[in-house]
Symmetry: C3
Subunit: 403 residues, 3 copies
Amino acid sequence: MSAAVMGCVTGFLTYETTKSVVVKSWSVGIINRVVQLVIITYFIGYVFLYEKAYQVSDTAIESSVITKVKGYGKLNNRVMDVADYIYPPQGTGMFCILTRVIVTDNQFQGRCAESDRKFECETDAHCTPHIGSVISNGIITGLCHKSLNESKGTCEIEGWCPAENDQVKIEPMVEFKGFTIFIKNSIRFPLFDVTRGNFPPTMNIKNCSNSEKDPFCPIFRVADVLKETQQDPTELAMKGGEIGINIQWQCNLDENIENCVPKYSFRRMDAPFEKNKVSTGYNFRYAKYYKTENGTEFRMLQKAYAVRFDVMVTGKAGKFSLVPTVINIVAALTSIGMGTVLCDIILLNCLNGADRYKAKKFEEVMEDQKMQPITPSPGSQRSLKPGMKSSGDSGAISLSISD
Amino acid sequence: MSAAVMGCVTGFLTYETTKSVVVKSWSVGIINRVVQLVIITYFIGYVFLYEKAYQVSDTAIESSVITKVKGYGKLNNRVMDVADYIYPPQGTGMFCILTRVIVTDNQFQGRCAESDRKFECETDAHCTPHIGSVISNGIITGLCHKSLNESKGTCEIEGWCPAENDQVKIEPMVEFKGFTIFIKNSIRFPLFDVTRGNFPPTMNIKNCSNSEKDPFCPIFRVADVLKETQQDPTELAMKGGEIGINIQWQCNLDENIENCVPKYSFRRMDAPFEKNKVSTGYNFRYAKYYKTENGTEFRMLQKAYAVRFDVMVTGKAGKFSLVPTVINIVAALTSIGMGTVLCDIILLNCLNGADRYKAKKFEEVMEDQKMQPITPSPGSQRSLKPGMKSSGDSGAISLSISD
Amino acid sequence: MSAAVMGCVTGFLTYETTKSVVVKSWSVGIINRVVQLVIITYFIGYVFLYEKAYQVSDTAIESSVITKVKGYGKLNNRVMDVADYIYPPQGTGMFCILTRVIVTDNQFQGRCAESDRKFECETDAHCTPHIGSVISNGIITGLCHKSLNESKGTCEIEGWCPAENDQVKIEPMVEFKGFTIFIKNSIRFPLFDVTRGNFPPTMNIKNCSNSEKDPFCPIFRVADVLKETQQDPTELAMKGGEIGINIQWQCNLDENIENCVPKYSFRRMDAPFEKNKVSTGYNFRYAKYYKTENGTEFRMLQKAYAVRFDVMVTGKAGKFSLVPTVINIVAALTSIGMGTVLCDIILLNCLNGADRYKAKKFEEVMEDQKMQPITPSPGSQRSLKPGMKSSGDSGAISLSISD
């Protein structure tokens, strides 16, 4: 029995390796080595060095952005400070600088005439079709609101009166070009538990301004940002728009962590709509509410054209890891082996003595010993007919040899 | 010496290919080709055509959303316009339409009775346990606040008085069904620097409404959105809730860029909590602040039930790239080679003449020439027993040599 | 002709398998099996079980967060409730608890003296350099504003007067430690259409508090959160800061969906800036606007130090899928095959009888029959010189057979 066990163990402890044919040929040898060189170059140069396929990467960046704008401007003869022109005020990654505000003051709930010429009327019948309109300044009652002795008027609305007239010409606050935006961005790559800030703790940020010379200064002049996005500040202030501030973190954690620094870029976010006839720019309406002495609420409606800034943080950190390395090395080695496919084709078809190579590479075995091959392929080995030489056999390859 | 160098070069310029056994058998040949066909079909059909594994893809979409709501409603006998019912007003991807507001007007700082019946008391002792409560309407002072000649009262609070009573019945603003939401979404795939807007610049968006007929219209009626999410508008307006508007960009950049268009879908975001007994819906409190003539601040507290809309933009763009193509082709070719594993098992175990195939496929070499194999596996070559033919040996294969 | 077709079919229905050399050697056999075992263990243990490479994963989690804070505090002798200290009020994933507010009341548009000592002046000439300053409290007019009979003053500003003095000492609202934050988070994995809430519908959340004992309670005491982030509540309330609440969903959808539960973690977001001398903490300015009886607008400026909470939801769901499974199994099998590379090196170089193994593994074929190998590699087969034994030939390997 111990012999059986021993045999079993011996049977298990075998090593199987492929039998290889070594072709000593300069032509195919050169081709083989060149193909291998190309594959190795590709993997080392592109896959490993350029794409860093040996790293595991983390793109699930956690980010916190705190912004603070500074500067003063004048709008409607009023000095505007941060508390006036920034909305929302809490300094998040997205904030608007109001650059032009159309104010409709002292609005009370009631009924009055629509301001828009689209709602012109002579009789109530002209107003009936407008009932349910969403572009009016209030609920269309269906009545025509005419002043005494006038033949034409506009439809009556129910809502906040007087109605807003947003066709008035207001000069924008052009001083916003000189405003500065301070961005405090801290990020974390959760996979590697790496935390970074967008400027070093030792940096003097009192008087700096981000520029090519000072790429890590977290303070940006609006004019510089607009210049990089090729926007005309005055037109932007007129119509409003959206500017994206992209902070990109590309970190190779196999290197010094100090090289893990942000890169800033800027672009007009609503660029795809620039050619549109309607709905260019950016504006929104909000109201400030007041009360009269006797407790009646009234409001100041504001149609604000604004430049919306959107700080977007993207990032990717890479660090050496075994799994992608092994998988890619395996892919590389397998690919090198794939070179033989090409070489085999050349060897077995294009070279002198291809038949001889074929005969050497392939051994044939038939389904049944008595069955003859229907189409004897020249140069193939006749393992079942020892001693018989096939035509086209070079005499060099054969398993049967008689001395 | 030149001969040695020459020899070295010749040694280097060799080409090594595996020696193969070609089995001319219909049965195993058919199996082999079928297995190969399945593998090729899988890779071409699923991996390459369906999963587009030949593309590099970018999911780090940069997106900008500007929204604008239009429409009028009536709440508490007041006409509500956009500036009244939209919060926050600046038209971002997340905004609330206030549908029901419980107003507690003219609140001043002071001390008064709690409004909630939970804080009922007869003596101060009943109020002591409530000190530190977070569900009261102010800081519980520990005193019992009773009207004259009443035996029961409620605990006294310090804070904004009078206390809010949120049990009053207020009809919701059902007109919100008719409101329209205009969504301006511009996206960018940073990897490919491709920028797209959610509607073409030439589109007439004045009077359109998004529907199956008009899938690229960026204006959505609230009623249509609610219909798709199977929500009852009146109940939603009563309790509040959250609706997600998903804009999906699936772009194949190997095709015409004009096919890179958005797909809209809608769903109730807080659906997992619909079955909850407590905390269904969505509401929040905020206040408007006023001043009396003599400068005392007072406020109007608002408990607002709202429908929160959340525009979420997701996307993926794919474009042909060499690296994934090569890696997947290698995987495909390797997998085809894997087919031989299955065929080998069949060939060497299940077919007639398996022993013969075995003998042909495997050549055996022992550790030491004098050592005998413990368990001679039938059909294996007896390289150590020159001249002796094993059973099953076809006579064609042998390593036995007699000089 | 049918014979030709038949031949073609027969030629197609062949099966090609590599010819193998089976080495019956304990030493190389053991090495072979050990290497294979290591590779298999690595793939099964690490790649498949730990990394779950057999799953397709979805990290594009859709998430909705609704928050609600409760509690009362006292600031500047006023009771603060949620409507007072939460900004923005609408209960999104990002909200601020105002902990210290520097109020500058009754500001009107006009001209007045700067409050900051940096703008001290004796003559107008001292103020000229400050024109255009962004750190003043208004637009520097260039005049020196002096009280009567005083030799020194500060530069005049145009803007909201009186100027803010943010050096006043205000005690923070320390009661915020006792506030509770209720977080309602519903998520969805779009790839698998799986929707989950952060607490089960049947849970009684009236009086719970998230802790180790009760990990699914969605109510968090601020003090507990700060404790986990190792922050001093009083200092945080003084200077402001940002706390990240991370909700992590790691879901294995091959298991019971009930195991797909959130994991909460907390950290100070602006930690990278803690060592900075300037710009630590978090504050922002906003204003409340009022009107006098005669319609003049005035405001109450607030510089608010706040603790900003940021609920971040990350997640990953995995589910079995064929593609990654097949690709990884192929990688595994290929890697097992790669073991032969190592074993071949040992076999052909380090073992006794390496020459014999070499001779067995490699068959040589020359470019041309008449051309002799320049450097006969010992042990290689001389297929072109039948019957001639090379030195080092063990006598066991040969292709010559004599019956």
